[in-house]
Symmetry: C2
Subunit: 242 residues, 2 copies
DNA sequence: CTCGAACGAGAGCACTGCTCTCTCTCGCGC
DNA sequence: GCGCGAGAGAGAGCAGTGCTCTCGTTCGAG
């Protein structure tokens, strides 16, 4: 139903897309702080006021870019996951995590937009939620699959966390052992801590050889949510007991 | 030598401090994006150009605030550590981590300034390094102490990470087992991942009861660097085998 | 005591987001 | 087939920004 529409509506969506494209280009080049509506309009050969027919404010444009960025990252994670669909859970977990890192390194300013400091007044609107959830859903899917194979061994939780963990699991990952929700959310936040620290320069002069460092950290995160290698594959590589 | 100085120099440092104070006030109220040199000057009863006698640019002012924020956070961590100086390493570890979280929740915009997206062109100047290192040094100290007590059990590393881990340990925490450096850096990044996610709203509608969640996650981080409870103190609270 | 350095004021430049008004044109409903 | 209104773009303008430059004044080190 959205394919057939008047020429006017078609032009509108086309121009909207062109504006977002140019904005994304500026975002990638200079960062969110220097994204200027006037510059976008200038580049598109229109006057700045005309742009307000498409986006009611600069923040609104940024919000659109945020949603797109979440989707782009989510898609990267999902396709990385599909590329190793047959492998054991631990391998898929690291593949997805490395896809997240790779996307972040390739799109630093977009990553900063979604996982850095919140730009506008506060907290992005509800529309971004589904896009933002995609990476998390992939990780949950991996853990669920491991659970169904009977390979999941989630570490125990202290008693004061059991209630909250059960609630989180019921809401995010129903069917999994009740400790899994809390473990997953923690791993999720820690994953982005690792990526963010590398991207924002906190690893400068600290971590040099980042690829193996990240890879190992991510395996440890997997252990934290209960994923274990089905059988050791490398001599010692994935066999730490913790 | 810095105590006795001319009235002019005294006035200069006083005014510099007043500018930073007012800037910090605006930063806390509106965030870094809306920090305006003109508004600071206005509030101080001076004209904007006069402010350039003290800070050559807005970015320079922000850099000063960044250093101060690192110092403030570092001091919070250090004094939290001193407050539990006698306790066993695991307790001290969680105390410091919780101090970091508390500071972040109390100073969200300053936290965003130092651990959110880098604001200016890129990567803060060298002057911020010592201030930025303070939290890390406290954590390293705790681990070192555990090591000297013979209570440290750092999990093994995959072979391809041994070289880099040794280098990191030698540079950051000489004397510790060579795996410790990598484990510490990973825990450090993950700690700030947890704090940042909570602060930037990624836990909204996901984690409700955040205090015990954070506490447990931080205990897990401690396990990751090799800290174990000397003897179980609560019934099961800190006794997960990981 | 003097002269230069430090200081503050003010005007001004180029830029920003955003609003308002004006005109024109396109295409939908009749 | 046509008229008219909604949608689109242009332009001027407002309030604000960072930053520069010039110009008196004033303070204090030599």
């Amino acid at each position: 139903m959205s394919t057939v529409k008047g020429a006017r509506a078609r032009a509108r969506t086309e121009i909207t897309a062109a504006i977002k494209d140019e904005a994304r280009r500026q975002l990638a080049k200079e960062g969110a702080a220097k994204l200027s509506l006037r510059a976008v309009a200038r580049e598109l050969g229109m006057v700045s006021s005309a742009l307000y027919r498409y986006f009611p404010s600069r923040d609104e444009l940024l919000t659109a870019l945020i949603t797109d960025a979440y989707d782009s990252l989510g898609e990267a994670a999902e396709s990385a996951h599909e590329a190793v669909a047959g492998a054991e859970p631990l391998v898929r977990w690291t593949a997805v995590c490395e896809a997240v890192r790779a996307w972040a390194l390739a799109h630093p300013h977009e990553y900063a937009l979604i996982y850095g400091s919140p730009v506008p007044g506060y907290s992005a609107p509800r529309t971004t939620v589904p896009a933002a959830a995609r990476v998390g859903l992939v990780l949950i899917g991996i853990v669920r699959d491991a659970h169904e194979r009977g390979e999941l061994a989630v570490p125990p939780l202290p008693p004061e966390l059991l209630g909250e963990a059960g609630r989180m699991t019921a809401e995010l990952a129903p069917g999994l052992p009740s400790e899994a929700g809390a473990a997953l959310v923690a791993a999720w936040a820690q994953l982005f801590g690792l990526v963010g620290f590398e991207l924002f320069g906190h690893f400068n002069r600290v971590v040099e050889d980042r690829e193996p460092f990240f890879r190992h950290a991510v395996v440890r995160l997997a252990h934290g949510v209960g994923l274990r290698p089905a059988r050791p594959e490398g001599p010692g590589a994935l066999t730490e007991r913790t």
